[in-house]
Symmetry: C2
Subunit: 145 residues, 2 copies
C-alpha cells in the first residue's frame, strides 16, 4: 500500500460526513498503511508512541464511527478480540493457530456467500469467511525442525 | 432433533472427562434441543424459568468447559455476542439483518476453507462462514406488503 496523502484522507472523512480531526486522520492512515487487522488497543499503543493523548474509549468511538459509515469493517476472530479492516469488500481471513497472525486472502467470497444462502432460500448481502489453520511461514518452520 | 435420553447426555459428559451435574446436563440438553444458537444469557433465562439457581458466570464456565472439550463451538456474530452451537462440524451460518435470527446452513464448508487457504499457501484446519442478509421468511413478509 502506497502512502496516502493527507488531502485524500481528509476527503474520505468529509465524504462520509465526518469532521476532520487529527485523531481521525491518524487512525484512518494507520489502518490504510498497516494491514495487520489491528485491535483498538494496538491503535491506541501506536498513538501513544507518536505522542497523541487519546483514551481507549475515544479510539473505540472513532472506530465505531468508521464502521457505521462503511469505512472499515469489524472482524470477529475466535480469540474474542475485535479487529478492524480497512478492506470492506467481502474477502477471506486466515488466522494462524501457531503464530496468531491474521492474513487477508484476497478472493471474492460473494459467489460462495450467495450460493450458500440461496441453497436455503435466503438472500446474502455480505459475510465473513474466517479460516483457522497453520500459515505458510509456520509450516516452513516446522518442516525445518 | 429428537429428545435425547438422560443416559446419552451423561455418557457424553463422562466421555469428555466432565463430572455429571444437573447444571451440565440441563445446558447440554438445552443446546441439543434448541438449535437457536443461544447466548449464555438465553441459557441462564431458560434455567431461571425452570427453577435452577445458577449464576451467569457459572453458565459461562460450563459453556467454556464444553468449548474446550469440543462439545460445542463458539460462534461470533457481528452483534458482539458469543453464541453456542452444538453442531461442531464446519458449517455455514446465516444471520438475518431484519429479524436477527441465526440459521444453520448445513453444507460442508471444508472444501471451500481448504481451497481458499491453499490458494495462499496456508493449511486450513477449521473455520467459519457467516453470511448476513435477509432470510426467506422476512423476504416473504416484505413481498406481501
Amino acid at each position: 500500500m502506497n502512502a496516502v496523502s493527507e488531502k485524500d484522507l481528509e476527503r474520505i472523512l468529509r465524504e462520509k460526513g465526518l469532521r476532520v480531526s487529527s485523531h481521525r486522520l491518524y487512525i484512518l492512515k494507520f489502518l490504510m498503511e498497516n494491514r495487520i487487522h489491528p485491535t483498538a488497543d494496538d491503535i491506541k499503543k501506536a498513538m501513544d508512541k507518536q505522542g497523541y493523548r487519546i483514551s481507549l474509549s475515544s479510539v473505540y468511538n472513532i472506530l465505531n464511527s468508521f464502521v457505521e459509515r462503511g469505512i472499515v469493517q469489524e472482524l470477529l476472530i475466535e480469540d474474542g478480540s475485535v479487529r478492524y479492516d480497512i478492506n470492506t469488500s467481502p474477502h477471506a481471513h486466515f488466522k494462524c493457530i501457531k503464530c496468531g497472525r491474521v492474513y487477508d486472502i484476497d478472493v471474492d467470497i460473494m459467489p460462495v456467500l450467495k450460493a450458500t444462502a440461496t441453497a436455503d432460500g435466503h438472500e446474502a448481502i455480505t459475510g465473513q469467511l474466517i479460516i483457522y489453520g497453520v500459515c505458510k511461514y509456520c509450516k516452513e518452520e516446522s518442516s525445518k525442525n
